[in-house]
Symmetry: C2
Subunit: 337 residues, 2 copies
Amino acid sequence: MKIAVDAMGGDHAPGCVIEGVRLALESVAGLEKIYLAGDEERLRPAVQEAGLTSPQVEIVHAPEVVDMGESPALAVRRKKRSSIAVSVDLVKEGACQAVVSAGNTGAAVAATTIKLRLLPGIDRPGIASPIPNDHGMCSLIDAGANPDPKPHHLLAYGVMGAVYARHVLGVANPRIGLMSLGEEDTKGTEFTKDVFRLLRSSGLNFVGNVEGHDLFERPLDVVLCDGFIGNVVLKSCEATAHAMFKWLKQELTRTPVRRLGAMLARSAFLGVKERVNYENYGGSPLLGVNGICIIGHGSSSPKAIQNAIRVAAEAIAHEVNPHIVEELKRLGATTHA
Amino acid sequence: MKIAVDAMGGDHAPGCVIEGVRLALESVAGLEKIYLAGDEERLRPAVQEAGLTSPQVEIVHAPEVVDMGESPALAVRRKKRSSIAVSVDLVKEGACQAVVSAGNTGAAVAATTIKLRLLPGIDRPGIASPIPNDHGMCSLIDAGANPDPKPHHLLAYGVMGAVYARHVLGVANPRIGLMSLGEEDTKGTEFTKDVFRLLRSSGLNFVGNVEGHDLFERPLDVVLCDGFIGNVVLKSCEATAHAMFKWLKQELTRTPVRRLGAMLARSAFLGVKERVNYENYGGSPLLGVNGICIIGHGSSSPKAIQNAIRVAAEAIAHEVNPHIVEELKRLGATTHA
């Protein structure tokens, strides 16, 4: 498998990205080649310093960078030689099968949508963000690609999320929930009620409305919502976990006895930290584009990049896109507006 | 101060509600009388059993109950003698100054809006839910009263949240943020961009867009969002805290050494639990109705009810509504569509 990595994407690029590529080459099965897209003058010494001299790594010059605050649509139009644009071009030209970026999410969505186009039957791509549910990994779709969706977009996300859960995560009959204000069928906005009706007659294993309460403990494989809510929910959950660890640390260091207790139980805290640590999940597939794109967290560490590359390799190996196309065909016109 | 309490509202009513009233009578300054609205035949023995024989408590018969799953609009129209309807009637008649309910939120919103009407200049009420921010209590508005708002509704929530923060929480110059997808002015949906423009020219201390990441650590007094997002975010944050405590417990009981450590550090865990425990905040003011209504968590404990009554007493004492009316007048037509 050959994967393009946006070397300039993310808060700690290119250092963390290069280190993540090194870790991935050591650990991800079937990985043949990584194309590192970015400013050659900056990348070459950094790659050498990291000892990444393997012939499996090839630098592809991309002199421009899309910054985190830039307008995605403008950036894609104006910066033809940005690291994300060049990465996506490599997929388009067939040089590789997937792209990984921890840079400006909107730019990755825009570049892949414009250059690779969408799968037949798909109007808008959606980001499937992994949630550590007690019953296995759950995908929250959409985590921010499409903040103002139409009801049929969420139906398509349901189909794609189910395919991803079945073929990549190995879930036989993925359970799909719709984020709403209460479990009852009648709860929600006009938008969620429309989506509810589409899902109920879709043939998917739709379990009905779910609530914020259900994210971690109710058996769910896919939770659907608009991209605005998905983004806000994810960041709010991260903020809660972060604040709790901080408060715990404040409380644990307050007395000598608590400090001793904390020392003895240290490995337990690390266990929970690992469990909520996004670095271990690594990346969120952008479902719906005609090619594989994995979006990393803006503050991706080497481990996060390594895992994003692993997620890309799994999506390639399990042929997510052909399966999505097949499933959309099977469901016929039901996912169209 | 006289307050009506919906004795049948909440998952553990009437037991927890009655116990909460007892705690409030012992602790809330200036509380003269509690009207307990509910089925007299059920309430009288329960009140006696709880030893709540104070002449400060008066049972007001309300034979009907609005269930959690019922349609609020229908329930308010059809069940004229429900515990929430009778509670609100007591405010309307001037027998008391506030109502507290942990029952069906939609029914409380509908009953107060229909019976008490809204403050002049207000189109829709909004729930101000307290968030334990590191820099003081922050109000998330709206937490679910208005899932499909117009931009000027959020402007009004900003005005009301600022008044609440200033007059009840004692914040001199409340900082108001708008929940969006990124800090940049350009981020968000058409809806949030419209709200952004209204807030920027409002004269409020508007700090701009905020993200889920900012809820607990960035200095903010009011965070504005639509009621759908507010509700989902609150429940997701609660779910995260709940899951983390569960995972922590699992990890801490895994080995004898960890168990010993957990025992020594026990008070630290309780400290964090208290900090994230909604029972300590007690209730969310429903801002905008012409009367004071405090909405409790559906699973309210006695302590939560006690604190909801405290929040009601504070809103009465600090004359929130007259201050809101004054502030809306001062800002003139800017909060209108």
